[in-house]
């Protein structure tokens, strides 16, 4: 299975490098977009000093973690993000005609390396925060950071898979997911706490973005000693469960009614 996946990665990369100019431009555009958002963050933080009790460093970290996990999900789970295209051109029939896992094939169908442009940008921000000093780095804190990225990757991937699952039922109205994917990224650049209790609860229990940014943030910056926060982000991985279930449901329907 791994062997097939690495083959897919290889083929995607080479196909994208075929159009080198396009690829580089996309990479730069992505980085630029991320930078734009970061500029906005800087402008606002400079003007106001803090927001919701969080200082510049905490906000920057929130930004970095959210953007990094988003771009990782967008790069590797893009096949699900673009699933409506696959359905429309009959590609999913072809997937079912092969003696391999459908999920593996969909993942392998599109790996968009140009999205890593955002990752690069966010990584720079992360390094900046790390270097500026407010975080006392130790093994547990590094682990927390890693978990935050994993948790974020799970949430955004889950959203893409959920979106693909819905595509089995209707190809219209899918833009609503935009609220949680692009919206989750833009507004997740700031700790969810600042949007009020209602939003915090929504983004903790429904789309668990806060689990990988707001809560573990307290541990990273030494405001809380609760070790549970180190592993809390991994709970966000549970989000993949309903996503996967809906996918299976949708697939049954597809096999029952055709395209």
């Amino acid at each position: 299975m791994l062997r097939l996946y690495t083959k897919y990665l290889d083929m995607n990369l080479r196909a994208q490098l075929e159009h080198r100019q396009s690829f580089v431009m996309m990479l730069l555009s992505q980085a630029l977009l991320a930078f734009s958002s970061f500029l906005v963050l800087q402008i606002l933080m400079q003007r106001f000093g803090s927001v919701g009790g969080f200082g510049l460093d905490e906000v920057m970290l929130s930004f970095a973690v959210t953007w990094m996990s988003f771009s990782l999900a967008e790069t590797f789970v893009r096949g699900f993000d673009r699933f409506s295209v696959l359905i429309a051109n009959g590609g999913f029939d072809r997937v079912l005609l092969r003696p391999r896992s459908a999920i593996l094939q969909v993942l392998g169908s599109t790996v968009d390396f140009s999205r890593l442009g955002r990752l690069l940008q966010a990584l720079i921000i992360l390094i900046l925060v790390a270097v500026r000093g407010p975080i006392q780095w130790d093994f547990l804190r590094l682990l927390t950071l890693g978990n935050m990225l994993v948790g974020g990757f799970c949430v955004f991937s889950g959203l893409f898979i959920l979106q693909a699952g819905v595509t089995f039922f209707t190809t219209e109205g899918l833009e609503i997911f935009n609220i949680f994917t692009d919206g989750g990224r833009e507004f997740g650049s700031y700790p969810m706490l600042i949007y009020g209790q209602l939003m915090l609860r929504f983004f903790t229990f429904v789309v668990p973005i806060a689990l990988f940014q707001t809560y573990p943030l307290a541990y990273l910056f030494g405001r809380s000693q609760n070790l549970g926060l180190v592993f809390l982000p991994l709970l966000a991985g549970l989000f993949l469960l309903p996503a996967y279930l809906l996918w299976r449901l949708g697939r049954r329907r597809y096999e029952s009614t055709g395209s």
Partner: protein, 324 residues
């Protein structure tokens, strides 16, 4: 060995309305209708047969193919293909079949064809030696050696089609489904493709199921046709038999010197040129041999050929007969 019993399938489709007022109404209360795509199909196909599956558009051909290939499951009925139920034992089943869609490609657009083949090798888990053997054989038979390293997007339609067919056979499938394989191809490529498929069937005993509107494909490749219309299997038989059953007309082309005076009863002129006349013989009125001997009395016949109706004519008359 393919067996199909009592196969039925229906779809629920939402009715789309035209016009502004209707559209708004549909917004609030959408209407559905039920389309019966397949009704009680029964047939069997033996290993190594080459079968043509024909019918007008919307008759249920692609629905049948989808069910047989295991990507769609029916409402009722039993299907067994080499001991497997296609949609239940999907992974096992699809490993043993090959499918070629005339309109859609499974090759990667920007990468060389050889790379797409390599990927398929990994997907179907074909071991290295067998893969090399198959690839060499296919490359030779379909004349792919020069285009193997070219990206799919640079190929002509004919070249791409040949690659598609090769791709579908890399894993030694026992059954090959072909959906409009020669559509859009020039004459040379059509013939090459047909030759190849015939050869494949001969050499490997691959069962071939062909869905097409191209009657020459049918004529060249299949001996048996299944006619489907409005979801029902209307006809299942050998082409020759059907031709005889459906049309009693035979075409005789004679080359003669001297004019054609009067024609025997049951014979009419179809086309006339100096020295050559095409005649139509209505075998319900007079047998071909009788007609010939009568003509020979009046004419100096230099050459003579007898032909039946073409597959095209056959299908058209079938469609007419069943009001499809």
């Amino acid at each position: 060995m393919i067996t199909v019993n009592g196969l039925s399938k229906s779809f629920r489709v939402r009715r789309r309305q035209a016009g502004f007022g209707q559209a708004v109404r549909a917004f609030f209360s959408p209407k559905y209708e039920i389309i019966q795509a397949l009704k009680d199909l029964n047939f069997g196909i033996n290993d190594g047969e080459m079968v043509g599956y024909i019918g007008p558009n919307g008759a249920g051909k692609s629905t049948t193919i989808k069910i047989l290939s295991g990507i769609l499951y029916p409402d009722e009925g039993k299907v067994r293909i080499n001991g497997l139920v296609p949609w239940k034992d999907r992974m096992q089943h699809v490993a043993r079949i090959g499918v070629v869609f005339g309109q859609r490609s499974q090759l990667w657009w920007d990468l060389p064809v050889a790379d797409s083949f390599e990927l398929l090798r990994d997907i179907y888990r074909v071991d290295a030696q067998r893969f090399k053997h198959n690839l060499d054989e296919l490359v030779q038979a379909l004349d792919l050696s020069l285009i193997l390293q070219q990206p799919t997007r640079t190929l002509s339609l004919g070249q791409r089609m040949r690659c598609e067919i090769a791709a579908s056979l890399l894993h030694d499938p026992a059954i090959l489904f072909l959906d409009e394989p020669t559509i859009g191809l020039d004459a040379r490529n059509k013939i090459a493709v047909r030759e190849f498929i015939r050869g494949q069937n001969r050499r490997h005993g691959t069962t071939v199921i062909l869905t097409t509107h191209d009657m020459q494909d049918i004529e060249a490749l299949t001996q048996r046709i299944l006619l489907i219309g409005n979801g029902r299997l209307l006809l299942d038989g050998q082409i020759d038999e059907l031709k005889r059953r459906v049309s009693p007309l035979r075409r005789i082309t004679i080359e003669h010197s001297g004019p054609l005076a009067e024609l025997p009863a049951g014979v009419s002129i179809e086309d006339q040129r100096p020295g050559q006349t095409k005649l139509q013989v209505d075998t319900s009125r007079v047998s071909v041999s009788e007609a010939i001997s009568q003509l020979a009395k009046k004419l100096e016949i230099e050459d003579l050929t007898v032909a039946g109706p073409t597959a095209e004519e056959l299908v058209l008359s079938l469609y007419k007969e069943y009001t499809l």
